[in-house]
């Protein structure tokens, strides 16, 4: 769940995101098969999907900035189908196994309970990535441009900031985050072409709860969604996902812009 936070913080929502997440996991899987290095797998996942993202942006998405947002949704939805089926054509439908790195494969005794080190590592990795993201977004000029792109694409257009670069950066960063998330999640879930579908929906929910383009909104939204899922699952698993959507509905009724969203932004 922590990984959806990264998507949320970047405010990057496109319907190919689940597929990019899967592409990242496969890139990591292949790299791991050849190098036996999880660090290399992480780097490969992020970089490969960044390249894929740039190719998609330059090749297709670029043509869509002058068109209504609905068209962009449609084309990313279509790209998602092509990527997932492409993975299936190359790797087959088997669930692949990318094991946790050896340095994280053991269990730690937290006194109250035992907990796998890898999961703690993932938490740390997510925290580090979020911290990095925070610094980049709020402390650099690149971040300013990216935030402007996230928050108000029209405004970027009007202000005449280098629009091409902004959109490319936003899209590329989003893709890279998806690819990276795919690799670090791979040891926990299974690597399969369809692995991204649920991540997509969950990250949408996190973004709606937290508020679009809000860094802290994404963090809080992610935490809330995670808590709801695990609490509801303990009471009655049949309702756990339904509760998540119910929470989303409540947020929409009370604060349509999300908990940390800015009013008036669509």
């Amino acid at each position: 769940m922590g990984l959806t936070v990264i998507f949320g913080a970047l405010g990057v929502v496109n319907f190919a995101h689940g597929a990019l997440y899967a592409v990242g996991a496969y890139a990591g899987f292949v790299t791991y098969e050849y190098t036996d290095s999880f660090v290399a797998a992480m780097a490969a996942g992020a970089i490969f999907v960044l390249i894929v993202g740039i190719v998609i942006e330059r090749g297709l998405i670029r043509l869509y900035y002058q068109r209504p947002p609905e068209d962009q949704i449609l084309v990313t939805f279509g790209i998602g189908i092509v990527l997932v089926e492409g993975l299936r054509a190359i790797f087959g439908g088997l669930n692949r196994n990318l094991p946790a790195p050896s340095w994280a494969a053991s269990i730690v005794n937290l006194h109250v309970t035992l907990y796998p080190i890898y999961r703690i590592d993932v938490l740390v990795i997510v925290a580090v990535v979020l911290a990095l993201l925070y610094v980049v977004l709020y402390r650099t000029r690149l971040g300013l441009i990216v935030r402007a792109g996230i928050e108000d694409q029209l405004m970027v257009n009007i202000l005449g900031i280098n629009v091409t670069r902004t959109f490319l950066t936003v899209f590329g960063l989003g893709a890279m985050a998806a690819g990276f998330a795919g690799v670090i999640n791979a040891p926990i879930v299974t690597v399969s072409p369809d692995m991204g579908a649920d991540v997509l929906v969950q990250s949408f929910v996190v973004i709606v709860i937290g508020g679009v383009g809000s860094f802290w909104g994404a963090v809080v939204g992610g935490l809330i969604a995670g808590e709801i899922l695990s609490l509801a699952a303990m009471i009655d698993p049949a309702y756990s996902d339904v509760m998540l959507f119910a929470a989303m509905a409540v947020v929409l009724i009370l604060r349509p812009q999300g908990l940390f969203g800015v009013q008036g932004r669509q």
Binding site: M1, E85, R88, G92, G93, L94, N95, R96, N97, P99, A100, A105, I107, T113, L114, Y115, P116, Y118, R119, P187, I188, V189, T190, S192, P193, D194, M195, D198, V199, S230, A233, M234, I235, D236, P237, A238, S240, D241
Partner: protein
């Protein structure tokens, strides 16, 4: 911790019974008498030419695509063997030495179901109405299998059920036109229990991880019933997770890790089984307890490898090492391996043997007339297949067949790249058949 009453398994039985009762639609008017040459379904139209058509539906995309492709290859190989008189087709007494079936070539088409019932129904309806299918087959989930069974019943076309482990398939939802070979959850659990007693011991404490849907609950229920009744095991409860969308099992696995159980019964299937087992290892569960997977998915060994599956107990419809003891299995496994370059998994086995059993019934009936083929199948004629002797029971159309119980091999024990399991028991079919037919009320006439 979520505890579900085990009785929830049957919460829909009443409804499904009603559905089954109302399930006969007069789309194609069929006289209710069994007069010899009256048309039934696509017979005789579908058997007039030089070939007969078999409609196959398997998933090629979606979560079960790997299993679906294996399943499809089983049909492909069987149809090739039947048309050319090779493989097992050269050994079945009723048609050995012949090419084709009753002198006709078998042709088939496959449609991708994406593991969803509706595309399967859509495609099979087309196969029946357009291609005049004389038999329909293929499925990779019980939901799809039961939907196809009912479609077959409606159109009066024979259905040799594909992969389906739910009790309902030959239980409350059983159909006159449908025959299922895979062991039901009940049979698998009953076959598993004595082996577990021998290998793991008596009076153990068990904890369950259960997907929250009908099949999950019925596996949990049956496994609990036999291990408690026959082995004196005690259930410490179930961790029930939402079926279909769960990717993180940590909250359930934490409870399991801390439960103090001796045995972890993992009812998850397919990708969910793979993910939950990976995570269970990360939680150190295998250091504390043995794992049992009552119904092991087709590629679980390959997907997880011996590091995870070594020492795991479970049942499978078929495992290829049976070829070392059974000559029929050897023919099947060797020809499959030669053609597709890997050893068949159990979805391929179901497809292959169901085709052979059907062909045998047709050959003995000397007609494609489903009424007569059904009568032949119901007659309980015993046939030598890769699992040994198999035959159909007329009361519920469940195949009586041996159930292999397996244990995962460690890496050191593996002799080739497909050698993931050791067969530790082959429980004979008659010992595991449900005496009460699990609610099936098979009509005596068509």
């Amino acid at each position: 911790m979520a505890q579900r009453k085990k009785t929830s398994v049957s919460r829909r039985r009443v409804l499904q019974g009603a559905a089954a009762a109302a399930g006969t639609l007069p789309f194609i008017h069929v006289p209710h008498s069994l007069a010899a040459e009256e048309a039934i379904g696509n017979w005789p139209t579908g058997a007039k030419g030089s070939s007969v058509f078999v409609g196959v539906t398997t998933p090629l995309t979606g979560p079960y695509s790997a299993d679906g492709i294996d399943h499809l290859k089983g049909y492909q190989l069987a149809i090739e063997h039947l048309n050319e008189g090779k493989g097992l087709a050269a050994h079945v007494p009723s048609f050995k030495g012949k090419k084709g079936l009753l002198g006709k070539k078998i042709v088939y088409k496959n449609a991708d179901t994406q593991t969803q019932p509706n595309p399967a129904i859509q495609a099979q309806t087309n196969f029946i109405t357009q291609d005049k299918a004389i038999m329909i087959a293929g499925s990779l989930s019980s939901a799809v299998a039961i939907a196809i069974e009912k479609l077959a019943q409606r159109y009066k076309v024979l259905n040799m059920v594909g992969c389906s482990g739910a009790n309902e398939t030959t239980g409350v939802d059983c159909q006159k036109f449908a025959f299922r070979s895979q062991p039901s959850a009940y049979m698998a659990a009953k076959a598993l229990a004595p082996v577990l007693g021998k290998e793991i011991g008596r009076n153990k404490k068990a904890i369950y991880l259960v997907p929250d849907y009908a099949y999950g609950h019925s596996v949990e229920h049956s496994t609990g019933e036999f291990t408690e009744k026959e082995l004196g095991w005690k259930s410490l409860g179930s961790q029930v997770y939402p079926f279909g969308k769960t990717t993180d099992y940590s909250s359930y696995l934490l409870n399991i890790a801390n439960s103090g159980a001796d045995v972890f019964v993992n009812v998850a299937f397919g990708g969910e089984a793979v993910a939950s087992i990976k995570q269970a290892k990360q939680f150190g569960i295998f250091d504390k307890m043995k794992m049992v997977v009552p119904n092991i998915s087709a590629f679980q060994g390959k997907e997880l490898g011996p590091e995870y599956m070594g020492g795991v107990y479970g049942t499978m419809d078929f495992w290829w090492t049976l070829s070392e003891t059974n000559p029929m299995a050897k023919i099947f496994v060797d020809t499959f391996h030669a053609k597709f370059n890997y050893r068949p998994s159990w979805p391929a086995h179901i497809a292959y043997t169901q085709m052979m059993v059907w062909a045998d019934a047709v050959a003995r009936a000397k007609t494609f007339n489903p009424a007569k083929v059904i009568a032949e199948l119901e007659a309980g004629h015993k046939l030598q297949m890769p699992l040994g002797e198999v035959w159909y029971r007329k009361e519920d159309h469940q195949q009586v067949r041996a159930v292999p119980v397996v244990v995962g091999k460690t890496k050191a024990e593996m002799r080739n790249e497909d050698d993931f399991f050791k067969i530790v028991g082959l429980t004979p079919g008659p010992e595991v058949m449900p005496p009460d037919f699990l609610g099936c009320k098979m009509p005596t006439s068509i």
